[in-house]
């Protein structure tokens, strides 16, 4: 029995869980629970990306995004207080959400890009590093500077209040 034949089933379960967790992020009354659901969404997203064959992105997403960025959000929201008064406009949100889903599904069905999708056989980390450091060195340098500036800016904003 080929274990690969269970991939669509696993992808379906992961997809349903992702939609449910996304709904929890948006609708959960307590913002701490909402941001914790965002961490779960990041892990499920990494699982889906792993099922698509991109293991390096999946690992990087889990370590950097879930492990650092989302944890930062959870800690900040916990300090600010999870429950706060919210002004809501349900109909506006429903209209916008339905419009975006319709347009996105139309694009997905019209492109048909998933029909030719093939899982990458194996992407060694050295190939990724080569493609980044040879062809995109200025971009990488710019990102290093931008992230360092971001960190300094964030500390300055938070200290100044």
């Amino acid at each position: 029995m080929n274990p690969g034949q269970y991939l669509p089933l696993m992808a379906s379960i992961t997809g349903i869980l992702m939609i449910f967790v996304s709904y929890l992020v948006v609708r959960s009354k307590d913002l701490v629970y909402a941001s914790t659901s965002l961490a779960a969404l990041g892990i499920l997203n990494a699982l889906m990306i792993g099922l698509l064959g991109y293991y390096i992105i999946a690992i990087f997403l889990t370590i950097v995004y879930v492990g650092a960025a989302v944890m930062f959000i959870i800690i900040t929201v916990s300090m600010l207080g999870g429950r706060s008064k919210e002004i809501k406009d349900e109909y506006k949100g429903l209209f916008t959400g339905a419009s975006v889903v319709t347009v996105a599904l139309l694009i997905v069905s019209s492109l048909g890009a998933y029909l030719g999708y093939t899982r990458p056989s194996s992407i060694p980390a050295s190939n990724v590093a080569d493609s980044l450091l040879t062809g995109y060195t200025p971009v990488i340098a710019l990102i290093f500077v931008a992230l360092a500036a971001t960190l300094i800016e964030a500390i300055a904003i938070a200290r100044r209040g």
Partner: protein
């Protein structure tokens, strides 16, 4: 195996499309800064999934692009959360409409 790969990719695309809708709903229905930030993060997850399925031309280049994208979004989160913390310290509110009303 090609049919299985296409099925997984199709499921991922539909999931990301629905997630984009949920994120758009969250961004417009609430005026709470943190809720809007969380909705933008849901949108980021959806777009990352969408890009991965659509870009099948160069897996190595896409992996590099994904790493760069995740790094930038992580930096963006830090700045936005710092701004929200500073805004809350000054105005004692997380309501985004109070910017227009009070000029906080």
């Amino acid at each position: 195996m090609a049919i299985i790969d296409s099925a997984v990719a199709g499921i991922a695309l539909v999931t990301s499309a629905v997630m984009m809708g949920i994120a758009a709903y969250g961004m417009t229905y609430s005026r709470n800064f943190i809720r809007q930030l969380l909705s933008i993060e849901v949108l980021f997850n959806a777009v990352l999934l969408f890009i991965i399925v659509l870009s099948t031309l160069s897996p190595a280049l896409l992996t590099g692009f994904g790493v760069v994208l995740i790094s930038i979004v992580s930096g963006e989160v830090i700045v936005v959360v710092a701004i929200i913390a500073a805004f809350y310290r000054v105005g004692r509110t997380l309501d985004s409409s109070s910017i227009e009303e009070e000029g906080v």
